[in-house]
Amino acid sequence: MLAPMTAAHARIALGLHASLSALLALIVVVVWAAADGDGLFWPAWVFVGLFVPLAIHAGARWAEGLPTRGERALGVCASVAGALAVADVAAWAIGGAGEFWPVWPLSALAVWIAVQALVVHRHRLFGSAREEELSERVDELARTRRSVVDAQAAELRRIERDLHDGAQARLVALTMHLGRAEERLGDRPEAAELVRRAREEATAAIGELRDLARGIAPPVLADRGLMAAVEALGRRSAIPVSVEGGLSRRPAPVVETAAYFVVAEALTNVAKHAPQAAALVTLAERGDLLVVEVADDGPGGADPAGAGLTGLRHRVEAVDGRLEIASEPGSGTLVRVELPCGS
């Protein structure tokens, strides 16, 4: 209501209101004294009439400064109720102070303000329980999501193992038999040719299964852990890569895999967009966090919304990690990932 006014305007308005009220009160008293000066002191009623709007005005000014919208509304209502309560008591006193009838309007006003206060401040009464419930829920969701992601990672590694020992091994055995058959068909070139084609098909299938398994997790990661796998990535990269840091223990498989693919993707990006650059990969533990950084001295200006980086972000967020990218043009690119180690 006073919002468009500046604070100074509002202060002046309230001052003016108070001065005018005082002036009117004085005039009324002078008129009363000039009339005869005794009998019923009727200006008291005028005082009450002047007091109520002034009290409400002042209350509203005060309420304006309260922090929340609910509290401001409550402040205005409390001012109105307070002004009315004072007016009621004054009217009772002026009217001869007989039976204390204002008890009824005062009670009504008190109930009104109490109900409103309850509504406005309900979160203080019930809030702590609600917040606790929410935070427990968040903990529970984080825990269950983590266990789903862990279970998924374990399942993927089991599939990889099963592929290796099952389908892949059978196909290899099949190619061995076909190879032997091919040899024995040396005197029947047409049949030998058919067998050779069958062997080549089986070999292609083995290659496809191998690519599939590598996409789940490269063997060196499962066998030797993150540090060795990252060093292997560095050696295979088309750009010079140094690896620093170290880990005192192996993080959970899902964390290792996420970290591995972050480094793999980041190095691929560097080789693609900054083929003249060199990269530095740093692995460190900070408290319960695994911190992985891939820095390069390329031209910078990477697009954090690009498909590759978005995919990485999702992989990292799935294990409650954080991914940051700093890539100012002219100052290289830094991909930094923090992953809760879990266990």
Partner: protein, 218 residues
Amino acid sequence: MRVVIAEDNALLREGLIALLSDHDVEVVAQVADGPGLLRVVNGHKPDLAIVDVRLPPTFTDEGVRAAIEVRRRHPGTGILILSQYVEPVYTAELLADGAEGVGYLLKERVAEVRTFLDALQRVAGGGTALDSEVVSALMRARDPRAGDGELAALSPREREVLGLMAEGRTNAAIARELVITPSAVEKHVSSIFSKLDLPAGDDDHRRVLAVLAYLRAS
């Protein structure tokens, strides 16, 4: 030729034994884990050990570890790693003490029977046999423009020839592969030797040294 086999998958072990016995290769022992390999190499002194990478008890790189141990204790025994995947880290570890008598092949290469038997002979005789996948993984790794020490001096054709040498191919095989004459291959090979500054001497030994230089650069 006398060989021992370390392979935990019975299907593959039997397939391999059948194939080898077709060609008068004597399988003197077969084991299914890493410690077993050391035992039978000790006992039988074979010409060659054919070793799977993933073996019990760890089912990780047990085979590579056991093979390195065999190489350390019995330097004369050829080691042929058969794996379902290519892992340059393992190749590099096997070759750390030299490329004599070491091979690393994908398992499905066994089915190309002639080529496989050639590789067996070569490794048992102290030569090298690296899968073309291993070599091309290493090739992909280094962009020739990036410059990698002594290999930077080689022409693209010489790199190709060196890559095929690393697979263990003979000059005749390289000539067939690149569709050039054997004398052209010889010219490339001697150019590689001189660019890599390899000491004069036995050609087989120089080939091994060239391959090592190649792998070190990768």
